[in-house]
Amino acid sequence: MSMLNVKNLNVWFGKRQQRVDAVRDATFEVARGESFGLVGESGSGKSTILRAITGLAPNWSGQLSIDGNPVPQKRPKAFYKQVQMVFQDPYASLHPRHSVDQVLGETLQLHGFRDIDNRVVKLLDDVGLGQKFRFRYPHQLSGGQRQRVAIARALAPEPELLLLDEPTSALDVSVQAEILNLLTDLRADRNLTYLMVSHDLSVVGHMCDRLAVMKSGEVVDILSVAALRSMEASHPYTRQLFEASL
């Protein structure tokens, strides 16, 4: 059974002449425990696919199912215990007037956890921040520190499927290595499934088993990481992407 099934997905914004078809007829599957990459041109619809899955892009058609269950237009609360997202933009995704403690504490409370204090401490340790950041506000954090808070928040409900939108593109390489190792461990320990957007092919090569390539709203290619490593591509756009990254 696949953890995530995306079939003939269309996502659009705006009406009539203003309409933007951001994703057109996208189809792919992610198995339970798999890590699946989404790569492609800037503006090609990668973030939009993740946003459609989590209900942040209301205009969509086609089929979406999680663990065999069709995703309804209106997501129940239980959905967000199963599926969590880390956003591309760590600046916009944290409330400016909520401290790290509030962000994590409220998320935990919302999902019905009891031992909140212990869990906040554990989450901060898990993402390599530690206690001294607990009562800081977003403007007192660097870009990378904010992204770690965002990852801690996504991990809080102990989800099964994590949607990761450029989770490390705002991070320096050593924190990137820490976060990628952390994500690798979490996936192994908790049998998590990842759908991960990245423009960095070596990150996708390190983290994923398979990947889809997007261009102008369409999935133009699906390939294995072995093919990525050997830079073997049959689709012309994939080949172009590989060549540009050399």
């Binding site: 914004f13 203003q18 933007v20 790569v39 492609g40 041109e41 800037s42 503006g43 973030s47 939009t48 591309q88 933009d89 600046y91 916009a92 403007h139 007192q140 660097s142 870009g143 990378g144 520190q145 450029e166 593109s169 705002a170 991070l171 320096d172 390489v173 050593s174 924190v175 990137q176 290595a177 820490e178 990628l180 190792n181 690798t184 423009h199 092919l201 070596s202 990150v203 090569g205 390190h206 990525l228 490593r229 172009q240 992407l241 540009a244 990254s245």
Partner: protein
């Protein structure tokens, strides 16, 4: 090389109840008509260094330096009003958070046109045409739609490119670009770098390029400052970055994932307390 900017002993301090936190500690460097990279781990003070030059540190933060000279004139002696003329006109900065720097309730088009007309006497129609051209130059495929759109309707990479287009309008002497291409796919990234490169080569602009992408900086810049805990720990020619000596820089290089050398785990930095004790290395030439 002619010196555009001369920074001596720069400190950025944040007083708090627990004491003073020094985000930048005694950084010195000069910038000529070159591409100067600043790399370093998250929180090492890269953005604060960039912002301090423009005196854009939010309160209660404090900027101190022996001097920050632009063409020989110390920016620290300028009034806030005089600084406003420097910002945007003579030194532009592309912020790390592109969407925050755009006005969320104004269309992209009106923001670019407004910025363009502030710096050029042009009719609305000319400014519109010029704005389309600038968006095309940063590889935006459908500039007409983007002109009508609001910032939240843009993808991460589109937001970055719009900011770059806008910062280049005043034809600044110095551009400080804070992680300007971190959200761009490789081919668009190349195009954006080419634009900046041209400005350095053809117009003699000075570029401070802040990035955590070591390969990119090694490839694109002329010189690199490597920052750790608010200090510069090493300075080198960009094309020698891969032979860097400092264990911190070596650690950063070794933590990169590589397509040609798959590994189960990535190396992470083993920090040595000594790194943050040694005084800042000077990046002056």
């Amino acid at each position: 090389m002619e010196t555009l900017l001369d920074v001596e002993n720069l400190w950025v301090k944040f007083p708090s109840r627990q004491g003073v936190f020094d985000a930048v500690r005694g950084v010195s460097f000069t910038l000529g008509r070159e591409r100067l990279g600043i790399v370093g781990e998250s929180g090492s003070g890269k953005s604060m260094t960039g912002r301090a030059i423009l005196r854009l540190i939010r309160k209660p933060g404090i900027v101190e330096a022996d001097h920050i000279k632009l063409d020989g004139v110390d920016l620290l002696t300028k009034t806030e009003k005089e600084m406003r003329a420097v910002r945007g006109q003579r030194i532009s900065m592309v912020m790390q958070d592109p969407k925050f720097s755009l006005n969320p309730v104004m269309t992209i088009g009106s923001q670019i046109i407004e910025a363009y007309r502030l710096h050029n006497s042009a009719s609305k129609a000319d400014a519109y045409r010029k704005s389309l051209e600038m968006l095309e130059a940063v590889s935006i495929n459908d500039p007409e739609r983007v002109m009508r759109a609001y910032p939240h309707e843009m993808s991460g990479g589109m937001g970055q490119r719009i900011m770059i287009a806008m910062m280049l309008i005043p034809n600044p002497e110095i551009l400080i670009a804070d992680e300007p291409t971190s959200a761009l796919d490789v081919s668009v990234q190349r195009q954006v770098l080419d634009i900046m490169d041209k400005l350095v080569k053809e117009r003699g602009m000075g570029l401070i390029f802040i990035s955590h992408d070591l390969n990119l900086v090694a490839d694109f810049c002329d010189r690199v400052l490597i920052m750790y805990a608010g200090r510069v720990v090493e300075v080198c020619e960009a094309d020698k970055l891969h032979d860097a000596k400092h264990p911190y820089t070596r650690g950063l290089l070794n933590s990169l994932p590589r397509l040609d050398q798959p590994s189960k785990r990535l190396e992470v930095l083993q920090r040595d307390p000594e790194w943050s004790q040694t005084p800042s290395v000077s990046g002056r030439i």
